[in-house]
Amino acid sequence: MRRFLAHNARRRNNFTNCVLQHGTFPLRIWTSTSSPGHFSGSVTSGGSASAPPLTLDTINPKVLKCEYAVLGETFILAQRLQQKLKENPGSNPFNELLYCNLGNPHSLGQQPITFFREVLALCDHPTMLDRAETRGYFSADAVERAFQILNQIPERATGAYSHTQGIKGLRDTIASGIEARDGYPADPNDIFLIDGASPAVHIIIQLLIRSEKDGILCPIPQYPLYSGSVALHGGSLVPYYLDEETGWGLEISELKNQLETAKSKGITVRALVVINPGNPTGQVLAESNQREIVDFCKNEGLVLLADEVYQENVYVPDKKFHSFKKVSQSMKYGEEDIPLVSLQSISKGYYGECGRRGGYMEVTGFSSEIREQIYKVASLDTCSNISGQILASLVMNPPKVGDESYESFSAEKEAILSSLARRAKTLEDALNSLEGVTCNRAEGAMYLFPRIELPKKAIEAAKAVNTAPDAFYARCLLHATGIVVIPGCGFGQVPGQWHFRCTILPQEDKIPVIVSRLTEFHKAFMDEFRD
């Protein structure tokens, strides 16, 4: 008995000590203390005696204001811990960190799709195509595809800048892929190949926001690229809450309420962001819901920004991905199509090629004048990286039945997707078994977003170290188990509620240890702080 109490006492010290040691964070804490808006600090001219020209006082205040929790505080703590483990193995109760913070599959052992890599290698070094001894390393259809792609590139030069929107032939392929997916035609001139979804979002937000009086409707919880980009461009974030009780449902009444509230504050709402499948929430929208959303945008005069990067990640038989383009086309507005920006990326799906930075935005329903402006802003960067462009075309036009690589390709794809579905279920069940934790199923995407009922004592302990309660929980979890998650405050949540985002990406053989460590930790945490 005494031993047990003493053991508990040590653990109590562990949690608060850990946070005290690492909790006060000089650079960024969960509520930003830097005040944006006005130029704080003047930059005087003349001589060495005055403050240097670029400092925290004189930096663009929008930079100070924007946040990106996915690579924020908790992640930075994890990096430090990683360093400590390297220098001092045995200094912690675990010998490796378990990264569940970022949708970065290959970093956790997921293998690239062989066919895709074959084609990319051949395009990067076409000499291999010209010599029989090297060509023999590759499947015949990869060779054929590489030839096809290189013929679409002037001089076979993958090292040359392309057209700003991307190589025409690749856009043709992608347009065909979109048509095959949706059953409605796609125009290659509507497609902009980009270095990942993020630059596309920046371009569109930049076009829309004239001042802080312009607002963008963003889901709460959301992937903080949106809040970050809105802050960076000086606009206003207009939140709309997804309903956790109904599997993170999107209610039009909520959209309407938030729109009216924003209007009453003098904000002009310019666009609606919808992430489908959702991040961090994982829900897949029902088609009827999507039609309501399109109607809403039409009636309210909003641009619809559809983040569809997880379109190939759907794990439940009762849901299916439908693109907003398809839904919108099926509603037959014709000339009066809603302005729609559809985003796809090569970073997710079953291919997970995050490090390439590739993807596209399909831009429909805009005037040609606006299309020119989009082109103009995109052209400042000249073009996106060619390798990523090629990969985007492969993702939208993978091997088909009858192709030499089809069977092995299918097997690889199936293995990854079914494994993701299994991991989603296992983790969901594990989370739901924890005291005070409820977790909606991950219908799609790559994350689970459980809600934790934190006891009052825990909330007070968090306050005492000047930390948000869910960040406190995440930090304790990190220091006790090495598991890295992102606290819900980074994504937004109903005030007074606490969540964290955990990816389903660690390899299947790591899942049991994650479950057991998490379960053990949570029990100890609740024992410590239970009311």
Partner: protein
């Protein structure tokens, strides 16, 4: 109800920003190309598009990184040189999961270290990898730093005229003010410190806070290589006026004369020693797109910060992290560029042969073009000391200027469109880069293949002489 996103309700800054390199001339050239006309694109520094072959070594390494299953094959050593295999393995081990994993938002740490080591070898002073951020091309880095600096329209950035219009476009987009300082064409596009001081004084009198100064060395479109004395002047000037110096050094490998080899702004700063070397804030930019590499399509680059405080660096890191990470293949190209094959490596000889071949040819082409332009009586062209462009001054007769006005075009745009339609040569009018009032230029690259150069210059001369015949009437030329 007006459309949700229409020209009227578009962000004003977007309306203001212009980027001529991919503007009117380029679009017209693309149209003509679609109609079947042969176009010689000399509008952008895009070497591989004009036949320059990629260097073999990096392509071998990247192919092995793309398809690591090749490395597992027992016979790979028969097909790939052993140093390419070693390098591929080395870079793959530095990544967090191969080419397909996000790296650190600042770039793969091991590659940043290679960049720091390169800078140290080049300049003779240690460089801190923590202050080096890899980016998807140098342009993204420039945009990030300008975004951190510009708070509003009261913040001014000193930019050379003529300049590469990424600077003017980005400053417009970010809502800042561009403060031009004119390079002196008659002094080989040299820096004029008097003009610089005047520009700053004028800006300040209008209530503008001058925040930073851009130098492009070697220059684009002008090609001039700054002397040590010039660089010292610039550094002192920035120090005295409390400016961040932005050193665009992407053409540092492209030097075509021997009097003024490339010397980095950082080296000059460190050589100066004293308080300035510890206080003057400098950001230096480099890329894999230029030099003798010309790997534009990879989008690989970096910026190095000097004397920027850790807290400010943190904020810049934060913004970079929103885009997660620069593309990993581009980072590997950068690593290979700063750490190329060494004497004794199997690939060394071929690498040197290929590199030298490209640089020697560029030097020749710079000369052919300069001479070709200067052989036209109404054209004056400074020699291309570095970079990849020729920026001849075209003296236009008044009748031509009138005709341009009638057609609703700026005179140099008018000239360049006619040149395009007559010869297929696609250039960028000087107005896209900035020039003194009433003085006209065009920018072309020196990149068309060496064997095509004589024909291209002959074609230009023929067009120009015919143009002059059509519009000349002995009333004299445009000023200067």
């Amino acid at each position: 109800m007006s459309k949700p996103l229409d020209y009227e309700n578009l962000n004003e800054n977007v309306k203001k920003c212009q980027y001529a390199v991919r503007g009117e001339l380029y679009l017209r050239a693309s149209e003509l190309q679609k109609e079947g006309k042969k176009i010689i694109f000399t509008n952008v520094g895009n070497p591989h598009a004009l036949g320059q072959k990629p260097l073999t070594f990096p392509r071998q390494v990247i192919a092995l990184c793309q398809a690591p299953f090749l490395l597992d094959d027992p016979n790979v050593g028969l097909v790939f040189p052993s140093d390419t295999i070693a390098r591929a393995k080395h870079y793959l081990s530095l990544t967090s999961g191969g080419l397909g994993a996000y790296s650190d938002s600042r770039g793969v740490p091991g590659i940043r270290k290679e960049v720091a080591e390169f800078i140290e070898r080049r300049d003779g002073y240690p460089s801190d990898p923590e202050l080096i951020f890899l980016t998807d091309g140098a342009s993204k880095g420039v945009m990030q730093i300008l975004n951190a600096t510009i708070r509003g329209d009261r913040d001014g950035i000193l930019v050379p005229v003529p300049q590469y219009p990424l600077y003017s476009a980005t400053i417009s987009l970010l809502g800042g003010s561009l403060i031009p300082y004119y390079l002196e064409e008659t002094a080989n596009w040299g820096l004029d410190i008097v003009n610089l001081r005047q520009s700053v004084a004028q800006a300040r009198s209008q209530g503008i806070t001058v925040r930073a100064m851009v130098i492009i060395n070697p220059g684009n479109p002008t090609g001039q290589c700054l002397s040590i004395a010039n660089l010292k002047e610039v550094l002192q000037f920035c120090y005295q006026n409390n400016l961040v110096l932005l050193g665009d050094e992407v053409y540092q490998q492209n030097i075509y004369q021997d009097e003024r080899p490339f010397i980095s702004a950082r080296k000059v700063l460190m050589d100066m020693g004293g308080p300035i070397s510890k206080e003057l804030q400098l950001v230096s930019f480099h890329t894999v797109s230029k030099g003798y590499w010309g790997e534009c399509g990879q989008r690989g680059g970096y910026f190095e910060m000097t004397n920027i405080s850790p807290k400010t660096v943190e904020e810049i890191y934060k913004v970079a992290s929103i885009s997660l990470s620069p593309n990993v293949p581009g980072q590997i190209f950068l690593g290979l560029m700063v750490n190329p094959p060494k004497p004794g490596d199997i690939s060394y000889e071929r690498f040197v042969r290929e590199s030298k071949g490209i640089l020697e040819s560029l030097r020749k082409r710079a000369q052919i073009m300069t001479d070709g332009f200067n052989s036209c009586r109404n054209v004056v062209c400074n020699f291309t000391e570095g970079a990849m462009y020729s920026f001849p001054q075209i003296r236009l007769p008044p009748k031509a200027i009138e005709a341009a006005k009638k057609a609703g075009k700026v005179p140099d745009v008018f000239y360049c469109l006619k040149l395009l339609e007559a010869t297929g040569i696609s250039t960028v009018p000087g107005s896209g880069f900035g020039q003194k009032d009433g003085v006209f230029h065009l920018r072309t690259t020196i990149l068309p293949a060496e064997e095509d150069m004589p024909a291209i210059m002959a074609s230009f001369k023929k067009f120009n002489d015919e143009f002059m015949e059509q519009y000349e009437d002995y009333r004299g030329y445009s000023r200067m």
